[in-house]
Structures are given as structure tokens and as C-alpha cells.
């Protein structure tokens, strides 16, 4: 076991906020090594139960169903010229330290979908390097956290190439004593002319004992770029409550519905009926007599 500082914030800030990184002890497990040469027509489904080193190359879809405890996961992606890779990670129950690193060549497209279904203690880092001209990164991240569970995410998107695009949409629900930190960085490097980047996080807080930290960073060393960042944290908008109530739905039920809708919008991006259905079953939203 070795203690390491993980998920370092791209631009450190006020120390007292305690958001500059997180410390974890990493197990010395020897990882299982998996190489996926994905195929455009094929979906590769992996069930990850322990430490893993995964390499993904060439176009295709890889779905990782993660139920590992005390595991370290490295996922390395290289999207070559024009390749389209979709990586879907579903974190369940256990605790893991996960790191995704991705390099995007010219016109490559990486779509990352992450779902955190109340994992106990997860540290998840995502490093994306858009060195390629016109490369595209889109991500949809959803989390539902309850009990004493903790989640620490650090997403760092470096836009280096010309005319790159990035778009990140995060939706989450916190209940009980859940603790969550989300750091999201859009980093426009000098030379990334014509690039655009957007990121948005929406957090629904459902109990007074939750703790939410949100750190949306934009770094910019290029004139010809457009970046936007947004976050909204709190309760359900009173207008939403009134609308749903006016259709006969009582308030406590509304919270339930909206909470599930946050995850639902991420689930529907998975694009694999089998996985979507198993995730909905886990959440108890699968229709019983479809």
C-alpha cells in the first residue's frame, strides 16, 4: 500500500477549500492486462472485478461494468485519425481508483459515458488530450450517491489542436451523507485556434447532510476560442415542482422522479439496449411489463 495524491486540480487554489487533490492508499495488486481492438460494428462488454490495465484502440464501443473493490483501473485510449471510440463505464457498489487517459488524433471522436451508481468510494480521473486538429470529445457523466459514500472526479480536457470541440454534461444526485467533488477543466492551449469547449454540472441535493464541491476551471492561452462553464447546485426549481404537481404528482414523488431523470438522461446516451436495461433495473426504473 502506498499513499498517493490523486486527481490533482489543474490550477491549484485556496488550500482551505481542500479541493486541490485527494489522497488514497493504492493497493499493490498486479493488474489484469486487456487489449481491445474495438470494431466499429461490435460492442465489447467487459465485467471488471479487479485491478485492470485496459488499452483501447481503433473505432468501436467498449462497455465496462465495474464492480471491483480496492481496485486500480487504468484505461488508455488512443483514437487515431478519424476514429470514433465510445467508452462507457458503469461504476457499481465497490470502491476503485480509476484513471482514463485519452489521446485524440486529427478528426478523432471520443465519447465517454460514465455512470456512478452509488459506489462506496471512488476516485476517478479523466485526462483527455485533443492534440489532433478537429478532434471531438463529448462526455456524459451521471452519479447517484447515498449513505456515507464518496466520489471524487477530476476531468481535465486539454485542447491543443486547431478547431477542436469538447462538451461535457454532468448530472448528479446526492442523498444521505454523500460527499462528492467534481473538478472539471477545459484547458485551451496556445495554438488551439477555432476551438470550442463547454461544460455543465447540475447537482440535485436531496438531504441536508450532503456535501458537494464543484470546481469548474477554464484555462486559456489562445484568443480565438470560445469556452463556457456552468454549474447549478441545489434543490428542484419551484417552477418544475409546480408543473409536475399540476399534473397530479405529489411533491415527494417529484423528487424521486427528477432524481431518476437526471440519471435517465445519461443512461439514454449509452446506446446499447442490453446495458441500458440492466442499469435501469439496478435503479428500479425498468418497466415491468414492457
Amino acid at each position: 500500500m502506498a499513499t498517493q495524491k490523486l486527481n490533482l486540480l489543474s490550477a491549484p487554489t485556496f488550500s482551505w477549500l481542500d479541493v486541490n487533490g485527494v489522497e488514497r492508499e493504492l493497493p499493490d495488486a498486479s493488474p489484469e492486462i486487456i487489449r481491445v481492438n474495438a470494431n466499429e460494428d461490435r460492442i465489447t462488454r467487459l465485467h471488471i472485478t479487479g485491478s485492470t490495465d485496459l488499452t483501447v484502440q481503433s473505432s468501436g464501443t467498449v462497455i465496462m461494468n465495474i464492480t471491483a473493490d480496492d481496485a486500480v483501473l487504468h484505461t488508455q485510449i488512443h483514437a487515431g485519425y478519424g476514429e470514433q471510440i465510445r467508452l462507457i463505464q458503469v461504476f457499481q457498489n465497490g470502491s476503485a481508483v480509476s484513471e482514463v487517459t485519452a489521446d485524440l488524433d486529427d478528426t478523432a471522436h471520443l465519447e465517454l459515458i460514465q455512470l456512478y451508481l452509488n459506489p462506496v468510494d471512488t476516485v476517478s480521473g479523466i485526462q483527455v488530450h485533443q492534440n489532433g486538429r478537429k478532434s471531438v470529445f463529448t462526455s456524459h457523466i451521471g452519479y447517484l450517491l447515498d449513505g456515507d459514500n464518496a466520489l471524487d472526479i477530476n476531468l481535465d480536457v486539454v485542447q491543443n489542436g486547431k478547431k477542436t470541440e469538447s462538451d461535457t454534461d454532468v448530472k448528479g444526485v446526492l442523498r444521505g451523507h454523500a460527499k462528492k467533488t467534481f473538478r472539471g477543466t477545459i484547458d485551451f492551449r496556445n495554438g488551439a485556434a477555432g476551438s470550442v469547449g463547454a461544460e455543465h454540472e447540475e447537482v440535485l441535493l436531496m438531504d441536508e447532510t450532503v456535501q458537494n464541491k464543484t470546481v469548474p476551471v477554464i484555462l486559456c492561452a489562445e484568443e480565438d476560442v470560445a469556452g463556457t462553464h456552468g454549474a447549478s447546485i441545489g434543490q428542484i426549481d419551484a417552477k418544475h415542482i409546480f408543473y409536475l404537481q399540476s399534473r397530479g404528482i405529489p411533491e415527494d414523488k417529484i423528487y424521486e422522479m427528477i432524481a431518476l431523470s437526471k440519471l435517465g438522461s445519461v443512461i439514454s446516451k449509452i446506446g446499447d439496449a442490453e446495458t441500458e436495461s440492466s442499469v435501469r433495473k439496478l435503479l428500479g426504473t425498468e418497466e415491468e411489463d414492457a
Binding site: A11, P12, T13, F14, S15, L17, V19, N20, L174, F188, N190, A193, V203, L205, M206, D207, E208, V210, Q211, N212, K213, T214, V215, P216, V217, I218, L219, C220, A221, E222, E223, D224, V225, A226, G227, T228, H229, G230, A231, S232, I233, G234, Q235
Partner: protein, 469 residues
């Protein structure tokens, strides 16, 4: 064309006390308790203040530099004493003032006497007459406006100062707060009694008799319940100090249902390390309104903090930062919601040009008991070329579900369409861009008194085109 400008409060004699220095003693040891005792003695500090300074020095010596923010390598921390007692100051004359500062004075149309005063090398600019009038009106309303050192010796205020001085910003806050605690000198004390609403803004440059509103000045303002005050600090003309460290401290106490508006246009000369700490404590139903323009300095660390301590307290921060060549300006605000139904709003703009670096940094904290609180942050950055840099580093820490926190950030450039539109109406490109940038900054200019807003626009125009036009 603007002819007149405001004059900064500079007292050349700040650290001008005699000291038989033996250079060899300080070069490696930095500040010693002996130096602090000496400063304390020259100022005639009461006993508690001398102890306070010595204690702050201990804290300074054991506190590490911050691990974030712009580099301060240019500051010689091993020999910080040179910033406190610059030798060169005593011999400085107009010829030593850098050319670019002289040009700026010229372009802003400041008379020679004022220029020398602002540059800290000439006689004090005499605005005694204006000051008298203001002083009369202020005194009639029961408001106390004096320099902090005199107030500390006035039996009427001594206790008030002892119980408030560096209580909001303790020396343990950070290394430069500790330094300030040890060597502070000069500054303002304002006391607004309950229910008094002062209609005219108090401007720090009126206070010319103050000993050294300069590098380590301390501002302490107490606004009692239901009172109102607008305090204006600084001015648009550049303040020049050869020794480039400013570590001031501002502590504001806002009573129940009182309002304090604190406006600053800061234009330190571009060799200055501006490591300033400002903080407000707001009671039930009170309001703190910060209006802040940062144009000067080589390096700035500036994040006025609002602590919303009573139900329904409100904080507002409106700011603009313009970082040009050779500048690294790290600015923003901190807001702590620690009472129910408190509200806050932050609206900031930053501009980076000619290799300048601007960073917007913020923290919004909503504590467990701040139920029903609301906070919104909007920050927008403009990149004027591709050799500059603009970073946005906000953070939110939310500990209750019954709140509503929003954050919006945007970064981009001047739109070609906008420039084309203005040019199609006959403006040259430079003027068109300057106008667009002024418009971008209107969140701050519309919050300032007219003459300040005009000065700020002139300053922006100067940065953009080299002329006030």
C-alpha cells in the same frame, strides 16, 4: 479629453524614520524583533500593539508561501526588510520615475505637482481645502473619519480598535497577513454610528494627514446598525513606489440592516507585488457591496471576502481586472454563507492583453446552517490576443440541500462582427475595439460614481490605444 484626476494618498515619509542601518545585519536575517520594536516605538504603539506586532512576526517567520497563485519569485523573501525600509526612497527624485509612468501622467493630463506627489517623490498635493469641507460635513453627521494611528490613541476609540483590529483577518490567515500585522503603518479608521446614512462617499485620498497610506496601510471601518456608507479607495492614476510590495489589509464590520459599499480602482505601478487582504463581516439584514477595478501591479493577489453572518445578509461583488504586458493579476472574491437566507451575487470581467495574465479565482461556501441561501456567480473573460492568458478557477463548497447555487463562466474574444459593425459606421479598428472593451467593462463602470467611471474608461482606452482620445 479628461483634464483632471484624483490624487492618491501617498505620504513619502512612511518609513522615513532614521535608522542607523548596518546592511550586513539584515541581508540574511530578514526582519528581526528589534526592527519591529523600533517601528513600534517610533509609532508610539500602546503595549498591546507592540505585543501584537511581535507575535505577528513569529507567525510570519513560520508561515509558508501559498502553494497556488502567480509566482512571487521577484520578491526577495529572505531580505523582506528591504521592502519595509527601502533605502532608495530617501534619495528618489523625479528623474528616477520610470518613463512609462511619466507618460501615463502626461496622457491623463495630471499637473506636474500632482504627478510628483503620486510618484511619491514630490511635495504632497494640497487638497486641504476640499478635505476641510468634507471633514465638516462628515463630523456634523457624527461620523468618525481619521487615520488609524491617531484613533488608537484616542481614548474614545482605543478599545474599539483593540477589539476589532485584525480580528477578521488574523495574522495566521496567510504569510502576508502576518507581515502586515508586524509592520502595518498608516491607514483609515471610519466609524458610522447607528442609523446615520452618509450621502457623500468618503474617499481615501482626502486623508492627507494620515501617516503613510502606502504599502502596509490598515483600513478599519465599522458601520453600525441601519447606517450607510460608501467608501472609495484609490484612484485611476498610477501610484508609483520604488519598493514593490504592497500588503495592506481592509477590515469591514457591517451592522444589522446596514449597507457598506466599498469601491476600489487600483492602479499600482507595474513593478508592484500587490498582496492585499480585504474582508467584511455582515450582520443580519446587512449588505456589503464591493466594486473593484484592478489595473495596476506586476503581480496581484486580491480576493475580498464577505462573511454573511446574520440572517438575510447580502454580499455583492462587481469586479474588473485588466492585465496588460508584464502583469499577472490573480483576483476574485470569496463568499461564506453562514446564516440562513443569505444571498450573494458576483459579476466579474477580466481582460488579458499584450502577454498579460489574468486569473479569476473565487470560493463560494454555503455552510450547514445557511438554509434558504442563494448565490450566483457570473464571470466573463476576454482574450485580446494569442500571447496573453486568462484562467478561471472558481470553487463551490455546499453543505446544505436547502440552497440554490449557480455559476456561469464564459471565455472568448471580441467578435469580428461587432468590430465590423462599428467600423462600418466609420470608426477605425483600434477605436472600435477599445469601445467594445469599455462596453465589456460596464458592469463596473455603471457601479462607480460618474467621475470614477470616466477615469476608468480613460484608463481602458489608454491601455487599448495608448491615448485617452
Amino acid at each position: 479629453m479628461k483634464q483632471k484626476t484624483q490624487v492618491a494618498d501617498i505620504d513619502r515619509s512612511l518609513y522615513d524614520f532614521r535608522y542607523e542601518e548596518d546592511a550586513a545585519d539584515f541581508l540574511s536575517s530578514g526582519i528581526t524583533p528589534e526592527i519591529i520594536r523600533e517601528i513600534s516605538e517610533e509609532k508610539g504603539d500602546p503595549e498591546w500593539m507592540r505585543e501584537f506586532r511581535l507575535h505577528a512576526l513569529e507567525i510570519f517567520n513560520r508561515t509558508k508561501m501559498p502553494v497556488w497563485g502567480p509566482p512571487v519569485d521577484g520578491l526577495n523573501m529572505d531580505n523582506i526588510v528591504t521592502y519595509i525600509r527601502p533605502k532608495s526612497r530617501m534619495n528618489s527624485d523625479w528623474n528616477d520615475v520610470p518613463e512609462n509612468i511619466k507618460e501615463t501622467f502626461e496622457k491623463l493630463g495630471i499637473p506636474q505637482a500632482e504627478r510628483e506627489s503620486l510618484a511619491g517623490v514630490g511635495a504632497q498635493y494640497d487638497s486641504e481645502l476640499v478635505y476641510h469641507n468634507v471633514r465638516k460635513e462628515v463630523a456634523e453627521s457624527g461620523v468618525v473619519y481619521t487615520d488609524l494611528e491617531s484613533a488608537m490613541h484616542d481614548p474614545k476609540y482605543a478599545e474599539m480598535i483593540r477589539t476589532h483590529f485584525m480580528k477578521l483577518v488574523p495574522p495566521t490567515d496567510h504569510k502576508f497577513a502576518a507581515l502586515h500585522g508586524a509592520v502595518w503603518s498608516g491607514g483609515s479608521f471610519v466609524y458610522v454610528p447607528a442609523g446615520v446614512r452618509l450621502e457623500i462617499p468618503l474617499q481615501s485620498y482626502f486623508r492627507l494627514n494620515a501617516k503613510g497610506a502606502g504599502q502596509f496601510e490598515h483600513t478599519l471601518i465599522i458601520v453600525e446598525d441601519n447606517a450607510y456608507l460608501h467608501f472609495i479607495e484609490g484612484c485611476s492614476a498610477p501610484k508609483y513606489y520604488e519598493a514593490g510590495l504592497h500588503a495592506g489589509c481592509v477590515e469591514l464590520y457591517v451592522g444589522k440592516h446596514a449597507t457598506l459599499r466599498y469601491s476600489t480602482i487600483e492602479n499600482w505601478s507595474k513593478n508592484m507585488y500587490n498582496l492585499n487582504t480585504k474582508r467584511a463581516l455582515v450582520a443580519e439584514g446587512g449588505r456589503i457591496e464591493w466594486v473593484s477595478g484592478s489595473f495596476g501591479s506586476h503581480v496581484s493577489y486580491l480576493y475580498p471576502m464577505s462573511i454573511l453572518n446574520g440572517r438575510g445578509a447580502h454580499a455583492e461583488f462587481t469586479g474588473i481586472t485588466f492585465a496588460g504586458a508584464g502583469q499577472n493579476l490573480d483576483t476574485g472574491a470569496k463568499i461564506v454563507h453562514q446564516a440562513p437566507e443569505t444571498t450573494s451575487h458576483m459579476d466579474t470581467k477580466s481582460i488579458s492583453k499584450s502577454g498579460g495574465i489574468s486569473t479569476f479565482r473565487s470560493a463560494v461556501v454555503v455552510k450547514e446552517n445557511a438554509v434558504g441561501s442563494r448565490s450566483s456567480v457570473s464571470c466573463e473573460s476576454l482574450m485580446l490576443d494569442d500571447i496573453s492568458r486568462s484562467d478561471t478557477v472558481p470553487a463551490m463548497d455546499i453543505r446544505t440541500d436547502k440552497c440554490d447555487v449557480g455559476h456561469e463562466a464564459k471565455i472568448g474574444r471580441i467578435s469580428d462582427d461587432a468590430v465590423f459593425y462599428l467600423m462600418s459606421r466609420g470608426l477605425d479598428e483600434q477605436t472600435a475595439r477599445a469601445m467594445i472593451v469599455s462596453g465589456f467593462a460596464d458592469n463596473v463602470s455603471k457601479e462607480l460614481p460618474l467621475e470614477y467611471a470616466m477615469e476608468m474608461n480613460n484608463l481602458i482606452r489608454l491601455e487599448m490605444t495608448g491615448n485617452v482620445g
